[in-house]
Amino acid sequence: MRLEWAKIGQTRNQRWCLSVLSGLLNGAAFIDFGILSLIANVPLLFALYRSPSATETAGLGGLVGLLAGFHIYGIAHYGWFLLLAFGLYTASQMVVYALLFRYLWGRGQAWLDVLLPANLWALSEWIRTVGPVCMPASYVGNIADVGVLNPWLRLAAFAGGLGVSWLMALVGGLFFHWAVGQSQHRRWAIRFALGWLIVGVLGGLNGPTPGGQPVKVAAVQAGLANAMYAAAEADSGAQRDIVKVFESLTKRAYAHDVDLVLWPETAIRAPVLTDENLGHRLFPPAGSRSHLLAGVIETDREGRRYNAVAVVGPGGRRGDVYRKTRLVPGIESHFTAGETIHPLTVGQLKIGVLICLESVYPDAARRLVAQGANVLMVASNDAGFGRSPITHHMLNRAVVRAVETGRGLIRVGQAGVTRLIRPDGTIDGTLELFVPDILVDTMQARTQLTTYVRWGNWWLYIVLMLVSLSAFPRRSPSINARVNEM
C-alpha cells in the first residue's frame, strides 16, 4: 500500500511532528543543504492543511520559525539573548505565514491557492529586510552556492533575490498541491512546474553579457580573530602586530601592480588616515598605479567616529570616503552613521562599497549601481561569527547582490571569507576563513543596468497583488470545511 499524501497530518501528533520536521529542514537548508529550501515548508503545509484550529495553526507555524531560527546559532557569539530574540522573531513571522495560509487558502481560485505558499514566504522574507536589522536568512541566500540551481539564481537580475526566493518556495507549494489538492490544484501545480522549469532554462540562457573594462584587484585578508583586536585596544604590542600583518600583505599586493588594493572593514583601528608614519608604511608609494580602498575608523573634527572605507592614491593622496550608513544596532553604537550611499570614484571607475551588514539589504547595492557603480566591494569582518554558518550565508548574500545588479563583486573579509564573485553568481577565487593572504584577480567594470536595478522590488508588488486576490472569497468559507470536501 502506498503512502496517501492527503491523509498525512490527520492526528495531532503527526502535525506537530511535521512542524518540527519543517523547522529542521529550513534550518538544515540554512546551514548546510541549501537545496532543501525547495521542500522545507512542505511538511508544514501538510500540518497546516489538517490543523483544526487557528491556535494550533499559529503554534505549528511558530514552532517552525523558532526551530529554524535556532540554526542561526552563530549570532550567540554576540549574546544568547540575541539568539533567543532571533528565534522569536522568525517564529512570529511564521505564525503570520501559517495564519494567512489558513485564512486565504481555498478562498480564491485554485491557481491562487497553488501560488499562496510562495507568496506568503516571499512576504515573510521581505519583512526581514525591513527595519534596522536585516536578517540574513533567505531561500535565495541558501541556494546561492548550489550549482544546479544557478540558472534560477540568475533570474535575480530580473526579479531580485526576493523573486528567486519566491521561485524556490514555489516548488514546495507545487508539490503540496500536487499531493493533496483537488484535480484543479493538481493541474495548476503541473502547469506551474513546467513554467518553473522553463524560467530556469531562460535564466540559464540569459546570463550577463561578457565584456567590460578589466580592473585588477588585490584583496587583503589578515585572517585575525576578533580577540586580537580586543587585545590591541589594551596592548600596543598587539596593535603593532596587526599593523605589521596588514603592512606585509598590503606591500605584497602593491607588488602585483594592481589597480585597487582592498582592505576589509575597520582593518586597522589606529589613525591610519592622519598618522604620517602609518601612511608611509601602508599607503601606495608615489609612482605606483594602485589605489588603496582602506577599511578604517575615521574621526571627524567634531570627534565623531565612522566605520568607513577611504580611497588613498599613490603617495598617500586622499580621495573619496564612504561611511557606513547602516550600523549594527547596539554593537556599533560607538560609531556615527554616514548620511549618504554613494559610489567611490577612482579615475574613471566607480566602486560601490557595502560595509558588512549593508550587503544583506538588497536596496543598498541597487542604489549604488543606479548611481553608476561599475564594480561592487563588500568590506566585512565576520570573525565574530567564527566558523558558524552565518559567515557562509553572509557570503551567499554577496553572491545575490552581484547577480541582482549584474556587477562583479569582491568580498573582502578581515578574517575571511574573501571571494571574487562574477555577475552570474559564479565564484572566481576564494580565501578561506582565518587564513592571512591576498587574493589577486581581475574584475570587469560594467555599465549595463539589470531589470532589478531599473525597477527594484517590483516582484513584491506582484506578490502583494496575488495575496490580495487570494483574499477574495470564491469558494467555501472555512479551511476545515474546505479540507473535508476533499
Binding site: 498525512i8 585575525l224 602586530d241 558558524s388 582565518f434
Partner: protein
C-alpha cells in the same frame, strides 16, 4: 477498523518513527556542532605567529596568550640585547642585564598610580618577573611569563619592583 485503514496507520506510524529518529538525530548533531563552534579554542596560524584564544590565566584574563618568557618579550618586543640575566634570577641580575643593554633600571618600593613607566614586578613564587605594560581603563595590563598579556583590576603583590623609565614602545 478496516484492513486498509489499519495498514495505512501502520505506514504512517513507520514514517512518523523514522521522522522522529531523523529529527532527534539532527538536533543532537546541531547541538554538538553549535557547542563546538561557539566554544572553539582552536589556535590560528597567523602570518608571523600563532594566535591562541584568550583564556582565564593565573592573574586575570589573558587577552593575548604568548607562552614566552619575560626575557623573550623584552628581547622581541623592546629589542633588549644580551641574552638575559645571569642566574639566579634576582632583581640585581635583571638590573645588571638591562643596564648592560643601556636601559636604565631602578628599584622602587611601590609604584604610584600615576606612574606610567614600564616595570618588572618580582612576584613571590615566580621564577621570572612580570612586566607591567600600562593601564587599560581601570585594568592593569601586564605580561605574565608562560601565559601572555593579561588584564586584571588588581596586581599580585610584588616583593621587588624594577622601574624601567627609558623603555618605550610605539603605539602602532
Amino acid at each position: 477498523m478496516t484492513d486498509d485503514e489499519s495498514q495505512r496507520r501502520s505506514i504512517f506510524q513507520q514514517w512518523t518513527t523514522w521522522a522522529v529518529i531523523a529529527i532527534v538525530s539532527w538536533f543532537g548533531y546541531l547541538a554538538s556542532r553549535a557547542y563546538t563552534e561557539l566554544t572553539d579554542r582552536t589556535s590560528i596560524q597567523g602570518l608571523f605567529r600563532v594566535y591562541d584564544r584568550p583564556f582565564q590565566g593565573s592573574y586575570g584574563s589573558v587577552v593575548d596568550p604568548r607562552p614566552w618568557t619575560t626575557v623573550d618579550i623584552l628581547t622581541k618586543r623592546f629589542g633588549v640585547r644580551g641574552g638575559g640575566p645571569q642566574l639566579p634570577s634576582t632583581p640585581k641580575a635583571w638590573c645588571d642585564w638591562l643596564s648592560a643593554a643601556q636601559i636604565a633600571c631602578r628599584v622602587v618600593d611601590q609604584a604610584s598610580e600615576a606612574d606610567n613607566a614600564l616595570r618588572l614586578r618580582f612576584v613571590p613564587g615566580q621564577s621570572e618577573p612580570h612586566l607591567w605594560l600600562g593601564r587599560f581603563g581601570l585594568n592593569h595590563v601586564f605580561f605574565v611569563p608562560g601565559e601572555g598579556v593579561t588584564l586584571s583590576a588588581g596586581l599580585p603583590p610584588a616583593a621587588t619592583i624594577l622601574r624601567l623609565p627609558e623603555l618605550r614602545e610605539a603605539p602602532w
